[in-house]
C-alpha cells in the first residue's frame, strides 16, 4: 500500500508542476502578486511530493520489496545494503526520479533564496522550472513508472547490473545529475529574461552561482566516471570517447564557456545575448545527453534501459524546450543588444576567445558523436569515430585554449598591452621554456608534440601562481603587506587561478600517461614476476574468495622497486551468478605521481594471465579535475557570489552598471 503513496505523491507533483508552469506566468503578465507567489508555494510543494515519492522507492529498494516490478528487475536480496540503496537510481526509472528530485531541489532553492530577485523574474523562472518539471514528470508517469506492481511477486529479484555495484559508480549519477539539472537554472533564467524582454545588469550575478555549482558537480561526476572506467574495466583506459561520455562532456564544455561569458556580462555588461544563448545551449545539451543515454539510439554500456518510445518522448521534450527557447531568443534577443566596447587585447577579448574555442570544441565533439548516426541514416554506411579522430581535432583546440588561459587572467579589462601582460609572466615563461627545451633534449626530440603540451601544462600552472603572486605583490612589498593583500583578495580570484592550475595538472597527467606508459603481460604462477623497469610485480597467490553476492578469484601481488617491497595489491575477477556476469577489479598502487596497475585474466596451464602497467602521471588525470571542482567551490564561497546574501543588485537594475570589481 505504501508504494501507492509514492505513486500518488508523484501524480500530485505532476499536477502541481502543471499549475506551476502556468499560474506564475499569468501572474507575471498581469502583474498579479498573489498569482506570482503561487510559484514559490508550488515549487516547495513539488519538492515535498517528489521527495516523498523518492523516499518510498528507496524504502522499497532497501527492503527488497519485489512486488514492485522495478525493484524485481534491478535488485536482489543478497546484495549488500549499500547497493540495495544505490540501486534506487541504478536503473532507468529510478534515475529519472532522481533527475526530477534534483530539479525540484533547484526549483525550491529559487523559491527560498530568490527573495532578492525582481518578483516578475522570479515568477517566470519558477514557471519555466515548472514546465521542465512537468515534462519530465509526465515522462516518468507515462513511460517509465517505477511504481508498477507485479503479481504474483517473485521470491527474489534479478539484481543490479554488477558493473554498477561499485561505490564509484553508485555516486557517479547523482553528481552528474546535479550538474545536468543544475544547468536548468541557466535555462530558466535565460528564458525568463527573454520573456521579460529586458536584462537586468545583475542577471549574470544571480545566475553565476547556480551555473558554478552545477559545473562543479558535473566536473566531479565526469571525473568519477572516468576513474571508474580506469579501475573497473581492467585495461587502464580512462576515456573512450564513447557517445555517452561525450554526452556528459558537451554540457561541461558549454557550461565552462557559460561560466566565463557570464563573467564578462557581470563585470562589463557585454556579451549579454551570447550569455543568454549559452544558457539555452548548455541545458539543451544536457537534455541531448539524457536523450542519448535513455533512448538507446546510440548503444552504450550506460544505456541500461533503451526503449524507442521513451526516446521519442524525450526527443519531443527536447524539441519543445530547445525549439521554444530558441524561438523566443530569435524574437526577443535583437531588442536587447547591449555592449560595452573593449579592445582586441583585453580581458574581455580573451574571454571571448575562450568561448569561441570551447564552443568550437563542443561542436567538434558533437560532430564526432553524431556523425556515425548521420552516415548510417543517409548513406547506410557504418562508421566509427574513435580516439584518433579527437586527438587530431579536439586536442589541438585544447592546447590553444591553455595558452589563452595563461594570458587571459593577467590582462586588464577593457584594454591592455600584450607585452605588458607577458612581462608580468616573465619568470614563469622563462622557466617553462627551459623545462620544455630540457624535455625535448632529454627525449632526443622524439616527442616534440608531448614536450609542447607538457610545456603548456607547466606554463598554465606556473602562470597561475605568477599571476596570483603578482596580484599580492609578493616579494615586491614587505611580506606582511603581501599577506594582508592575500587576505583581502576575493575568494573567486583564488578559485580562478586554482581552477586553471588544475587544468594544467590534468594536461601534464594526460600527456605523461599517454606517452610514457608501458605494459607487460605474461602467464604467471605463484612467485612469477613481471618487470616494469622501475617496478616489479610478483604474484603471491591466487585464491577464491566468496563475496556477499559474488564469487571472486583474487590474485595478490607484491610490488617491489629497487629490491624493496613497497606495496601489496590484489586484483579480482568477480562472478555474479544471478546475472551470470563477470566484472574485474584492478589492483592499483599509487604514490601520487605514478600508478602501478595490475589486472588478471584467464587461468591456464602456464598460470594466470596478468597484465601489469606502469602508468606515470595517471593520478593527475583525476587530481587535476578534482582541483578544478574544488576551485569552483572556493569561488562559490566568495561573498560577492553568495546565494541570498544582501546584494546591491536589487537597486542596480536596467541600464545601471555595476562597478567592475577589479
Amino acid at each position: 500500500m505504501y508504494a501507492e503513496f509514492g505513486h500518488f505523491a508523484l501524480i500530485l507533483a505532476f499536477t502541481l508542476s502543471l499549475a506551476q508552469s502556468s499560474v506564475p506566468l499569468f501572474g507575471a503578465y498581469y502583474r498579479d502578486r498573489k498569482l506570482m507567489e503561487f510559484g514559490t508555494t508550488a515549487a516547495i510543494g513539488q519538492l515535498v511530493f517528489i521527495a516523498i515519492s523518492f523516499a518510498v522507492l528507496t524504502y522499497a529498494y532497501v527492503n527488497s520489496d519485489f512486488s514492485l516490478q522495478n525493484v524485481t528487475e534491478n535488485s536482489n536480496s543478497a546484495m549488500p545494503l549499500i547497493y540495495r540503496f544505490t540501486a534506487t537510481w541504478g536503473n532507468h526509472e529510478g534515475s529519472m526520479l532522481l533527475w526530477v528530485l534534483i530539479l525540484a531541489i533547484f526549483g525550491s532553492a529559487v523559491a527560498f533564496f530568490g527573495g532578492n530577485l525582481p518578483v516578475t523574474l522570479k515568477a517566470r523562472v519558477l514557471g519555466i522550472q515548472g514546465m521542465v518539471g512537468a515534462g519530465f514528470l509526465a515522462f516518468i508517469l507515462f513511460t517509465s513508472n517505477p511504481f508498477w506492481r507485479v503479481f504474483p511477486a517473485p521470491m527474489d529479484g534479478t539484481e543490479l547490473n554488477p558493473m554498477l555495484q561499485d561505490i564509484g559508480l553508485a555516486i557517479h549519477p547523482p553528481f552528474l545529475y546535479l550538474g545536468y539539472v543544475g544547468f536548468s537554472m541557466a535555462f530558466s533564467f535565460s528564458v525568463a529574461a527573454l520573456s521579460e524582454g529586458r536584462i537586468y545588469a545583475a542577471w549574470a550575478r544571480w545566475v553565476r552561482p547556480w551555473v558554478l555549482a552545477a559545473w562543479c558537480f558535473l566536473t566531479i561526476g565526469i571525473t568519477l566516471g572516468s576513474y571508474w572506467a580506469y579501475y573497473e574495466l581492467g585495461w587502464g583506459g580512462w576515456w573512450f570517447w564513447d557517445p555517452v561520455e561525450n554526452a556528459s562532456f558537451m554540457p561541461w564544455l558549454a557550461g565552462t564557456a557559460l561560466l566565463h561569458s557570464a563573467l564578462v556580462m557581470e563585470r562589463r555588461q557585454s556579451l549579454v545575448n551570447w550569455t543568454i544563448l549559452l544558457g539555452l545551449i548548455t541545458f539543451s545539451l544536457s537534455l541531448i545527453g539524457t536523450f542519448i543515454v535513455r533512448s538507446g539510439i546510440i548503444t552504450s554500456v550506460h544505456a541500461f534501459a533503451s526503449d524507442p518510445s521513451r526516446g521519442v518522448f524525450i526527443l519531443a521534450l527536447l524539441a519543445l524546450a530547445a525549439g521554444g527557447a530558441l524561438t523566443i531568443f530569435a524574437l526577443r534577443a535583437p531588442g536587447m543588444r547591449q555592449s560595452t566596447p573593449f579592445s582586441p587585447v583585453s580581458r574581455e577579448s580573451s574571454l571571448v576567445l575562450n568561448n569561441v574555442i570551447l564552443i568550437s570544441a563542443t561542436a567538434v565533439v558533437m560532430l564526432g558523436t553524431f556523425y556515425p548516426l548521420l552516415v548510417k541514416t543517409v548513406a547506410e554506411e557504418r562508421l566509427s569515430v574513435g580516439a584518433p579522430y579527437y586527438n587530431l581535432t579536439f586536442v589541438p583546440m585544447m592546447l590553444v585554449l591553455m595558452a589563452v588561459l595563461v594570458i587571459g587572467p593577467i590582462l586588464k579589462w577593457k584594454r591592455d598591452r600584450i607585452t605588458e601582460a607577458l612581462g608580468k609572466l616573465k619568470g614563469a615563461t622563462i622557466i617553462t621554456l627551459v623545462c620544455t627545451l630540457v624535455i625535448m633534449a632529454a627525449t632526443m626530440g622524439e616527442h616534440i608534440y608531448a614536450a609542447l603540451s607538457l610545456g603548456l601544462g607547466i606554463w598554465v600552472i606556473l602562470g597561475s601562481f605568477a599571476a596570483l603572486s603578482y596580484r599580492i605583490k609578493l616579494f615586491k612589498v614587505s611580506f606582511s603587506r603581501s599577506w594582508e593583500m592575500a587576505r583581502t583578495t576575493p575568494r573567486s580570484v583564488y578559485g580562478l587561478f586554482l581552477g586553471h592550475a588544475g587544468m594544467g595538472f590534468m594536461a601534464l597527467g594526460i600527456t605523461v600517461m599517454t606517452v610514457w606508459q608501458h605494459e607487460e603481460l605474461g602467464a604467471l604462477k605463484s612467485g612469477g614476476q613481471l618487470d616494469l623497469g622501475s617496478y616489479q610485480v610478483t604474484l603471491d597467490e591466487v585464491k577464491n574468495v566468496p563475496g556477499p553476492n559474488y564469487q571472486a578469484e583474487r590474485a595478490t601481488f607484491t610490488i617491489t622497486s629497487g629490491g624493496e617491497t613497497i606495496s601489496s595489491v590484489f586484483s579480482e575477477r568477480r562472478f555474479y551468478p544471478v546475472r551470470g556476469m563477470q566484472t574485474t577489479e584492478a589492483g592499483i598502487y599509487s604514490n601520487g605521481f605514478v600508478n602501478v596497475y595490475v589486472a588478471i585474466g584467464e587461468q591456464s596451464q602456464a598460470g594466470i594471465a596478468v597484465r601489469a602497467y606502469y602508468h606515470p602521471g595517471a593520478p593527475w588525470i583525476w587530481f587535476g579535475p578534482f582541483i578544478m571542482a574544488i576551485a569552483g567551490f572556493v569561488s562559490l564561497t566568495d561573498r560577492r557570489l553568495r546565494v541570498g546574501a544582501p546584494q546591491r543588485s536589487k537597486t542596480t537594475t536596467g541600464e545601471a552598471s555595476l562597478a567592475p570589481a577589479e
Binding site: F240, G522, Q551
Partner: protein
Amino acid sequence: MTIRTFIAVQFLISLLVLPVHAIQPDEVLEDPALETRARDLGKVLRCVVCQNQSIDDSNAPLARDLRILVRERIEAGDTDEQALDFIVARYGNFVLLKPPLELSTLLLWFGPLLILMISGSVYWTLIHRKSANDIAAATPTPLSDKEQRDLRDILGKG
C-alpha cells in the same frame, strides 16, 4: 545441491564460457618488432561489438579473433596497410577508429575546420565591431535642437 556449490559450479562454468580478457600472453608474437606493429594496429582497430574500444583493450572474444587475425597477417609478411586493408575488406570501415577520408566522411574531417573558420570569423568581427563602437563612443552625436533648447533652459534656470 546447496546454493554455495551451485554458485561454485556456475563460477567454474563461467571460466570456460565467459569473455576472455584483453590481450592474452599466448597471443603475443615471438618477434618484438612484429608484436609492436601488431599493437600499433590494435590501437586503431575497433572491437566491433564494443563501445569505441580498440581490440587491444577489449575483453570480447571477437576482439581476440581480430587480434589473432592481425598477427597472422603480419607474420604472413603483410605491411601495416595490407593488413588493415585485409580487415577492412571483411568488416568494413566500421572497424577503423579513425575513419578514412572518403566522400561520406568529408564533412567529418573538414567539419572542424569549417567550425573553426566560422567561430574565428565571429571572433574577428566581434573584436573589430567593438573597436568601431569605440570610435563611435569617442565622438558623441551632436545634440538635437530640442536637446539644445532643453539644455539652455536648464542652464538658464540654474
